[in-house]
């Protein structure tokens, strides 16, 4: 019973595929996976927009959307209808072709990245040998889309936003990938399925997730900061910066093209959170052994919603960084920490199991964190900030 509930989607797909003639089966199998992924994540997008607006509302001591449907739950539907019926404006000076292609170049790679995430036991689009590499490779295309959108709009704010976005994405991609390297070193594989399997099992009640090791915790925190910056989430939302450059690179987009950008941004956030779950949070595994009867996909999407909640919480809490703070943080703090974390992971790999390696690795990471933080802090010259135009 429990087994069949866990494998219900896999069995269903198998049943559907076997109904078709043999030569159509590979195609049909791929089609069902793709449709499943797109439908699931598009509805998750709708759900998280309403959750985000509600959550931000509560944080800012207001209600959030509450007019459309019961408790405002039909708001995403209204938003969708609105963007579909809005006029599609293209500036006269804009580069029409590039302006048109840019949203597509964002949305397609973002959905492609979802293909390698294991969303449950035996539930993965493709189990690639180089899955993690594939994920980062398709993610690289989004930078290009941002540039295309910003440049083709022929708007100074657009171009500013695009430049900010590219500088930020390139800077944070380095610590992001370096912090993922630790997991690849420990699991000994680039395949996402193998990485999840490597985190199976429990010691007593404690799961063998990588986040529950000193290097894993440091890597997870670095990864999540990098993920927030990669998906342009607050406090790293300088590329949009409503109060500074209006809406950044999609200022000249309206109607459904704007909705596509919005979709791409959110699905990108889901994808990178899904990768964080796969790499550090044990993928679809249950946190304690007695809860293993709950289906595996429930755990994956539960963890995903939890990470989204953290993103919303952070957005409602932290103010936006300044450009120089953003760059300093990436290059002077996150990059050295990520490099050092790789060293510590190597040590962890070769010190025999026991309390010694816990002690040594924890001490090294905390020591590096304190030393680096102190050094950077001492170099700051604190003074009253002076503004040129705001006084």
């Amino acid at each position: 019973m429990v087994e069949s509930l866990d494998q219900i989607f896999v069995d269903l797909k198998h049943l559907l595929v076997t109904l078709a003639p043999v030569e159509w089966q590979p195609f049909l199998s791929a089609l069902i996976s793709v449709v499943g992924i797109i439908v699931t994540f598009a509805s998750l997008f709708a759900l998280s927009t309403i959750l985000e607006r509600k959550g931000l509302g509560r944080i800012q001591n207001r209600f959030g959307p509450n007019r459309v449907g019961p408790w405002g739950l039909l708001q995403p539907l209204a938003d969708g209808l609105k963007t579909l019926t809005k006029e599609d404006l293209v500036p006269r000076a804009a580069d029409k072709v590039v302006h048109f292609i840019a949203p597509l170049v964002l949305v397609i790679p973002v959905f492609l990245a979802l293909a390698v995430l294991p969303m449950g036991r035996n539930m993965v689009g493709v189990n690639l040998d180089a899955g993690v590499l594939f994920f980062f490779a398709v993610g690289a295309a989004t930078e290009l889309s941002v540039f295309m959108a910003g440049w083709s709009s022929r708007n100074k704010y657009s171009l500013l936003g695009a430049m900010r976005a590219i500088a930020q994405m390139i800077s944070y991609e380095v610590p992001l990938i370096l912090s993922a390297v630790t997991v690849i070193m420990m699991a000994g594989s680039l395949s996402t399925v193998t990485i999840v399997q490597a985190q199976a099992g429990y010691t007593g009640w404690v799961p063998h997730w990588y986040v529950l090791t000193p290097w894993g915790l440091a890597g997870f925190l670095l990864f999540m900061i990098g993920a927030a910056a990669e998906s342009n989430r607050s406090p790293f939302d300088l590329p949009e910066g409503e109060s500074e450059i209006i809406a950044g690179y999609y200022i000249e987009y309206s109607g459904f093209k704007f909705a596509l950008f919005f979709l791409g941004e959110y699905v990108g956030m889901f994808a990178i959170s899904g990768l964080a779950i796969t790499l550090f949070l044990g993928g679809w595994q249950a946190p304690i052994p007695v809860l293993e009867w709950i289906p595996s996909y429930f755990w994956f999407f539960g963890k995903l919603l939890a990470l989204i909640a953290v993103f919303i919480w952070v957005r409602g809490t932290l103010p936006r960084l300044r450009m120089d703070q953003l760059m300093n943080f990436a290059w002077k703090f996150m990059l050295p920490m990520a490099l050092f974390n790789i060293l510590v992971t190597g040590l962890w790999r070769f010190i025999p199991t026991g309390w010694e390696r816990w002690f040594i690795c924890t001490l090294l990471i905390v020591g590096a964190y304190v030393t680096l933080g102190r050094t950077l802090f001492q170099q700051k010259h604190w003074a009253k900030r002076s503004y040129r135009f705001a006084e």
């Binding site: 180089a130 690289a140 100074k156 120089d324 290059w331």
Partner: protein
Amino acid sequence: MPLVFVVLSLLTLAGAIAAMSLRNLVHCALALTATFAGLAALYLQLDAQFAGFAQVLVYIGAVSILIVFAILLTRGAEPGGQSVFSASWFWGGAVALMVFGILSGIILSSKALPLDSPPPPRATVSQIGDQLMTKYVLPLEVLGLLLTSALIGAVIVAIPEKVAAAPVRTQPTSAGTRNGETLRIHGELSNPPDLPLGVGQGESSEVSS
């Protein structure tokens, strides 16, 4: 399978030709990116996963962005007055054709080329990793050391913060001030990492004019 190859190679070639012949430099860079993507797809079609993904990661993710930045930092993307064809296009084309003919002739008549080549081995990522860690470990280590030291060196160059950064107040009022005012509020514009902002400024004044 040949159909896939034909489509991909046509895409790659079309991108390359467009990259040479378009007037707008940014369009050329984007067309070049399409060529990179086509090459990556060709690698994937040959079952070379690692090479294909590395191609996407390095060329589409980094090299094309670098090219675009270089274009925007040096001069506007506006086409110049001159024709895209060089005056000596005929002789250039003739030389290229001749070299191609000679090379393909030599390759086809080569004895080293076995007529029935054995099926290519399927190189998995772990095999590539094994080879890198055993047979090619010295070049790998040297490269890794070089790249890491370049990375750390770049950070060290950026670390010293300017003591009491020169007051922004002394900026001469130039044509860029109007665009600048939204930006200067952030202060500390003299930091090297602010480069993109500065770029945007120069570009934006051009766009708005």
